[in-house]
Symmetry: C2
Subunit: 199 residues, 2 copies
DNA sequence: GAGTTATTTTATCGATCGTTACAGAAATGG
DNA sequence: CCATTTCTGTAACGATCGATAAAATAACTC
C-alpha cells in the first residue's frame, strides 16, 4: 500500500481516473493488440513516459482498465429474489449495456483476447478467469434456486449457466457487428424461454 | 481465372493446399493480428517470398484461409426435414467441431477480428459479413418453418435466429476457454429448450 | 532564493512488423 | 548448350512496435 506522505516534486498535470477511463475505452474498442501505445497517447492526451510513469506498462494499463471496466460497466447477477427474474434482468441489462450510446459496443470481457499472439498469452488469462468466474457465479446462483425448489432437481445447473454465459458472449459479438438494442433485448427474451418449467 | 498453359520455370516445391491449411490453422488459433508473417513461415515451412508469391499478402492469405475454413470446417444448417432437428443438429455439430482434437478450439469465424486495430479494420469486414450471412440463413430457415406450420405464427424468427447465433458464438468463446465437448453439447441441448412449443 | 523531487517533453532505443530487391537455383523451350 | 522463366533463399527495406534515457519544467522544502 504505497502512501505518499506529502506531495513533493512536480505534480501530475492530469486526472489519473480520467486517463484510465480513456485508456479503458480504447482497449474496449480495439482490444489489447489492436491498441498501440500511440493510440493510447492520442486517446489520453498523454505522452508515453507519463503513461508508463503512472501505470507501469501497456500490459499493466490494460489490466487496470479491465478491472475498471468490471467495476464500472459489468452487469451483475442480483443475488436476491427469484433466480428467473435475476437472470432475465441480467441478460436485459447486458443487452442495454452492450448497445449503450457513447460507449464502445459489446463487452470488454466476454470477447477479449480470444485470438492473441502466442507471445502475449499472459494478457488473455485475466479476461479468461473473469469469464470463468462469471460462469461459476451464475451456476452457484442456479444451484441455490434448485435447492430452494425454484428449479426442478434434475436441472443441469452447469449447462444452464453456460447457456446464460453464451447468450452474453453472443450478444457481445452481435453488438459489435451492429445489432441494435431492440434486437439484443429480443434475443435475451427468447433465450429466457429455455428456462426450465417450475418444479 | 488465371490459366497456366504450360509449366515453365522452376516448379513449386510445396503443396499449395497443404500450405493454406497450415496457414488457416495458425490464423484460426492466434487470429489475424496475433499471427505474424514469421509465425506463418514456421507454420508452413515456407519463406516469406514464397508465401507472397503464392498468396499475394498476409491479408489475402487470411481471406483465403477464411474461405477454406468456411468450406472445410463450417457447420451447415441442413435445409430439409424439421427445422427443430436441423437446428439441434447444427448446434451439436458445432459443439463437436469446436472441441475437435487436433484442431484449434472454437470457431474461426464466430469470434474473429472482434477487437482489431483501426488501421486494419478491412480485415474484419469479411468475417462480420459471414456472421451476418449465417444469421440470415438461420432466420430464413425459421421463417420457412413458420410458414410450414412447424412454428407458431407469432414466432420472432429474427430473435430466435440471433439466439442460435449467440449460442454458436458463446460456444466458440467457451471452447477457447477450455470447455469440454460434453459441456458444449450440454449447453446446446439446454439451449434447444428455448424452442417454441409446436403451433 | 537554493536545493530537492517528481513530471513532462523530446528524441531515440532495439525489436519486430509486413513487404520486397536481388541473386542463386531449377525447371522449361529452342 | 543456351536462353528464358519461375521459384527459393538471403538480406534488407521503411514503418511501427513497446519502452526509456536525458533534458527541460514545475512544484515542493528549507
Amino acid at each position: 500500500m504505497e502512501m505518499r506522505k506529502t506531495s513533493r516534486g512536480r505534480p501530475r498535470s492530469f486526472d489519473e481516473d480520467a486517463v484510465l477511463d480513456a485508456a479503458m475505452r480504447a482497449f474496449w474498442e480495439h482490444g489489447y493488440e489492436g491498441t498501440s501505445v500511440t493510440t493510447l497517447e492520442s486517446a489520453t492526451g498523454l505522452k508515453a513516459p507519463s503513461l508508463y510513469g503512472a501505470f507501469g506498462s501497456k500490459e499493466a494499463l490494460y489490466q487496470s482498465a479491465l478491472e475498471r471496466y468490471a467495476s464500472e460497466h459489468g452487469a451483475v447477477l442480483r443475488p436476491d429474489g427469484p433466480a428467473r427474474e435475476a437472470v432475465a434482468e441480467f441478460l436485459l441489462d447486458a443487452a442495454d449495456r452492450f448497445s449503450e450510446g457513447g460507449l464502445p459496443p459489446g463487452c470488454m470481457i466476454s470477447t477479449a483476447a480470444l485470438g492473441v499472439g502466442a507471445a502475449q498469452r499472459a494478457v488473455a488469462t485475466r479476461p479468461a478467469k473473469m469469464r470463468a468466474q462469471t460462469l461459476d457465479s451464475i451456476e452457484q446462483r442456479l444451484r441455490r434456486a434448485v435447492d430452494d425448489g425454484e428449479l426442478p432437481p434434475e436441472t443441469d445447473a452447469a449447462a444452464l449457466a453456460r447457456l446464460v454465459g453464451a447468450v452474453i458472449q453472443g450478444m457481445s459479438v452481435q453488438a459489435i457487428d451492429g445489432a441494435t438494442r431492440a434486437e439484443l433485448r429480443a434475443l435475451a427474451t427468447v433465450a429466457m424461454n429455455a428456462w426450465p418449467a417450475a418444479a
